[in-house]
Amino acid sequence: MMRYAIRHVTRFEYADAAGFARCNLRLKPILWSGQTLDDYHLSVEPGGEIAPARAQAGLANVMRLVVEKPERELTIESRARMTVDRPLPMPAADDPTLAEIAAWARDSRDVGPASPASYLFPSPHIPLDRNIGAWCAEELDPDRGALEAAIALAQRIQREFAFDTTATLVDTPPHVAFAQRGGVCQDFAQIMISGLRAAGLPAAYASGYLRTLPPPGAPRLVGADATHAWVLLWCGDRLGWIGVDPTNGIWMANDHVIVAVGRDYPEIAPIDGVVLGSGAQTMSVSVDVAPIED
């Protein structure tokens, strides 16, 4: 079990005062098995109106921020205290096969945002791609056990792709990152999701945090300075959604905190929306995830 104090600060600066802003904030971590939210604060400087948003697409706590006055800068700070207690998934002989998972998901009678049926199909930012599908298929034999296949694919991505913050941008499509065999966590997550879906499997995009500093003696995880992205694979009703992190080649366990889950990035984007103005905008983000010692 781990307890964390999380601080996520986003700061916007505008060259000319922005007229008004309406944003969706997806910063408050969702309820998810293995994690609880003990305390939460969201603040906006120099001020604005915050209320729960009506329309939601993925699994996220969407808050609507409305700023009516022209502002030169805007700082959004999200602070959470979380308890994370997840068992480490263990592949076993009686795990469902990939073919079984795919068939169950197709036959689902639930259209909700937590249903596997919602993650079976390509989405605007994660289309199907022949090359990614063929490459991932090597690990995704239909008769293979789901957990074994999931971690094998994540580790292969971690092994064969270069972590390179200069290789891609936030809107680089998966096939480009795949072709250059490099990118950051979002690229690896998108490639893995695209490959899983090409095999007919229900795969979701998870966004959240990693603990910033490792326990003594352990290596520092890649992606801990900012928000992180990884993959959830639905493995049947008994096992539910299992998390794998292709950036680090590991399971989602007590170092990972889920903030939001969606089909792809726009459904979990921490902040998006509309700002009326004509000048340039710069943005800086800082994330700190510190274990709380008892």
């Binding site: 948003a53 329309a55 993925g58 197709r106 689902s108 049926a117 998006d272 929306g273 700002v275 983000v285």
Partner: protein
């Protein structure tokens, strides 16, 4: 002795009979003309065609096409910026009213079924939890919009419009190929086809008792109005803009229905209410008929990168404050996979099979259905089950199983094993044919029929009698409205009963008389203002260039201007950015300079050709406000025949015609005021620039004569003054004489008058900024004398006029409201 009319009727009958006989000799089985019980009606229609066009089908086709051009029909292929001609066949599709009744009843039933299923899927969701519809069918549809789940659409319905593509098979049975649930795309084309055909075949209407379109469109308008909370609602038609393939149709439909044509930037949501930005401030919008992709409608609810949507629209809708037709997400059932379930859903919800079935469809997401499709692949069309292109169909579109080679079959089988849910199998339908005027003969072409339905004021479905037939050589019936190589035809529902004359005019007393056409969106005012400015600017530049050509170059007039005057004229034109200043003032150099200023290569210089292009661009986005004559003049190609002087003369006549149309044909609405404001302001600016150039203290008589030419005031001057050119008399006439319609004083007076009559925002009675600036300009002109108009005063006047333009823009037009993407996440 037979009268000439009888003789021509006899001739037409002979010709029609020959056309039909030749046609049926080559038409395949199941043709609508040859195998139809209504052959007499077809012969009557062909007779009308022969009577209108004589023995020439080519002539008939050209005639129908000209009518279509005249109405302003056009369409755009994706990725092209120029509109194309609307391909209209002169031969309408005839459907007997008994046959039609069955189609119409089937369409209404189908629309209601789709509504019921849609309402369940966005509401209680029983069809999925009971297993009647697999969840994957819903989540697979790209038009399933999860944010709409649980939102009850204001007005109570998801669907206000419904359209379907039908095919008629060789046995004469009608079936549904595809449903269109987002917007009635093509209804405007149906309307325009009818207008063009009615003008071509005037007698057809009465002879065959062709059912009219007007009652349907009236029902559609009343139906939408009835869903609104206010009794005199304001209804907008939301367009993605002029680059959309069917922008012309949208503009036409908006004009016909009396809807306000708006773009996303015209609209704003405040406190969960929808408003349009008008010249009189924000005005409520009660309902929106949308032509914008639902995913782009609201960047806060759906795609945050959308720049054509309205932030907060879905909140306003969820709060019950705006009806959106059709509701976002209502397109879900367009996915072909749903066709596989509609027969069973009809049984479940209606207790009876569909009156108008769709073509047989199997969704491969189910094991038994997949096995059936694979076993019967050679008799099947395999198609994407949803919008996205499956990996097993690299071409993207539907394919005939029998056409697949071994490799393609292998690819399809492999992907279908992994992702069966991405595919449907559909029975391959053989379309029946109808006549098409090809060259000088009638040729059979396969066709599909798009039928439109809309809810009337009681919420029941009204079906447009007729629609829109699409003729094509290609089998792809799911293509966009008009693709390459296909033709459209009017659809006439005819019968024995006479059709009462009806029109869109309501019964007496139902409508209050009004003289104000209503809301003027800020964007439209902006466009009309700039249209006026560009037309004046083009005319002034052309005038200056003609003076240069006429007086300084023409060898035979002998009226060559003094060299320094020519230099000033050249500078005036070059300073406007119309052409690069010539190296010298030799005749050859000046002619080349003038040529570039009038029709040099597009885009490079702000010359007459370029200015006209800008004006035509504005015309294209102001279609719903301008007359067809004006559109034609704006769209006319740049003259290419004759010498430079001929071309300049032709352009001059075009400007004069446009000025005449706006002065004599545009109603004196606020829209006209903005157009005229643009003209007056630009003309005043042009004259101040001419004064600055030619009316200095050292002005020569050549300078003054040129100034009078530029101000088109030579005749006025000669009528007043017998003497030769004097600086002060010329200045007074060109700048200060309020009786001279080319003088600055006249423009300034007109501007002040417009600004006094346009709406103001506050009721304090105080002047708004643009009115204050106009008053200041007026005072400058009123207190000036010809002697006091030195270069500094003229410069100050010019600056004040520019300030006035800015003040008008700031008060009335949309201001730099460009959305920035506030999206951000650094990823590691």
């Amino acid at each position: 002795m037979a009268s000439p009319a009888l003789a021509s009727l006899f001739d037409a009958r002979t010709i029609a009979g020959r056309w039909a006989a030749d046609y049926c000799a080559q038409a395949p089985a199941g043709d609508v003309l040859c195998d139809s019980a209504g052959r007499a009606a077809w012969l009557a229609a062909l007779e009308e065609l022969a009577a209108a066009a004589g023995d020439s089908l080519g002539h008939a086709r050209e005639r129908a096409q000209r009518q279509a051009d005249d109405i302003g029909l056009g369409h755009r292929m994706p990725g092209e910026s120029e509109e194309r001609r609307w391909p209209l066949s002169p031969v309408p599709l005839l459907i007997d009213s008994t046959e039609w009744q069955a189609i119409a009843a089937g369409i209404a039933e189908r629309a209601e079924l789709v509504e019921a299923v849609t309402a369940d899927l966005y509401g209680p969701g029983r069809l999925v939890s009971d297993g009647a519809i697999p969840a994957a069918l819903v989540t697979g549809s790209p038009l399933f919009l999860r944010p709409m789940v649980g939102v009850t659409p204001p007005g109570g319905h998801h669907l206000h419009f419904f359209a379907a593509d039908l095919c008629r098979d060789a046995d004469g049975r009608w079936r549904v190929l595809a449903d269109h649930l987002r917007a009635p795309v093509g209804a405007g084309y149906a309307l325009e086809n009818r207008l063009a055909i009615a003008r071509t075949l005037g007698g057809l209407q009465g002879r065959l008792n062709v059912r009219r379109h007007a009652p349907f469109f009236a029902a559609m308008r009343d139906g939408l109005a009835a869903t609104c909370r206010r009794s005199e609602p304001r209804i907008g038609l939301l367009t993605p803009g002029r680059l959309n393939p069917s922008y012309a149709e949208q503009a036409h439909l908006a004009r016909y229905l009396g809807f306000l044509l708006v773009e996303g930037a015209d609209l704003a949501v405040r406190d969960d209410r929808l408003y349009v930005r008008t010249i009189a401030g924000l005005k409520r919008i009660d309902a929106l008929c949308r032509r914008v992709d639902p995913r782009l409608l609201d960047p806060l609810a759906f795609d945050a990168s959308s720049t054509i949507g309205v932030p907060g629209l879905i909140d306003a809708m969820a709060a019950g404050n705006v009806v959106v037709a059709n509701a976002p997400g209502a397109g879900m059932l367009e996915a072909p996979a749903f066709s596989a379930f509609l027969p069973a859903l009809a049984q479940r919800l209606n207790g009876a099979p569909l009156q108008l079935p769709n073509i047989a469809t199997w969704w491969c997401g189910q094991p038994a259905e997949r096995a059936h499709v694979l076993a019967n692949l050679d008799q099947m069309v395999v198609a994407p089950a949803f919008g996205a292109v499956p990996l097993g169909l690299p071409g993207g579109g539907p394919v005939l199983g029998a056409d697949l080679d071994a490799d393609a079959r292998q690819l399809l089988a492999e992907d279908m094993a992994r992702r069966p849910q991405d595919y449907v199998g559909q029975e391959a339908v053989c379309l029946s044919t109808m006549p098409f005027a090809e060259g000088e003969r009638l040729a059979p072409r396969p066709f599909t029929l798009r039928v439109f339905a809309a809810r009337d004021a009681d919420g029941r479905w009204a079906v447009l009698p007729g629609g829109f037939a699409r003729l094509g050589g290609e089998p792809d019936t799911r293509a966009t409205v008009m693709g390459e190589g296909s033709w459209s035809a009017d659809v006439c529902v005819h019968g024995a009963d006479p059709v009462p004359p009806v029109s869109l005019l309501p019964v007496a007393g139902a409508v209050e008389l009004r003289r104000n056409p209503g809301t003027l969106p800020s964007r439209v005012a902006d466009n009309l203002f700039w249209l006026g400015r560009y037309l004046e600017r083009g005319e002034a530049l052309l005038g200056a260039t003609r003076v240069l050509l006429g007086h300084s170059i023409s060898a035979d007039t002998g009226a060559a201007l003094a060299d320094e005057t020519v230099a000033r004229l050249v500078a005036l034109i070059a300073d406007a950015g119309a052409a690069p200043a010539p190296a010298g003032r030799r005749r050859r150099e000046l002619v080349e300079f003038a040529r570039v200023a009038i029709d040099g290569a597009e885009g490079q210089w702000h010359n007459v050709r370029q200015i006209n292009r800008l004006a035509a661009g504005i015309g294209a986005i102001s279609r719903d406000r301008l007359s067809a004559d004006m559109m034609r003049l704006l769209d006319a190609p740049h003259p290419s025949r004759g010498g430079l002087l001929d071309r300049a003369g032709s352009l001059q006549r075009r400007y004069a015609a446009l000025a005449g149309l706006s002065a004599e044909h545009m109603a004196r609405t606020d829209a006209w005021r903005f157009h005229d404001l643009g003209r007056r302001l630009e003309r005043a600016l042009a004259i101040t620039r001419a004064l600055r150039t030619f009316a200095g203290c050292e002005a020569t008589s050549d300078d003054l004569s040129t100034l009078l030419d530029l101000a088109d005031s030579q005749i006025s001057y000669r009528q007043r003054y017998l003497t030769s050119f004097g600086r002060l008399p010329v200045l007074d006439l060109v700048a200060l004489d309020p009786g001279n319609p080319r003088a600055i004083a006249f423009q300034v007076g007109a501007i002040a008058e417009h600004l006094a009559r346009l709406p103001v925002l506050s009721d304090s009675g105080l002047a708004e900024p643009q009115q204050a600036v106009a008053a200041a300009v007026q005072a400058m002109v009123a207190t000036a004398t010809a002697a006091s108009l030195d270069p500094a005063t003229i410069g100050a006047l010019e600056a004040k006029l520019m300030q006035l333009s800015d003040a008008i823009a700031a008060r009335y037009f949309l201001q730099g409201a460009e959305p920035l993407r506030g999206s951000g996440l650094t990823l590691a």
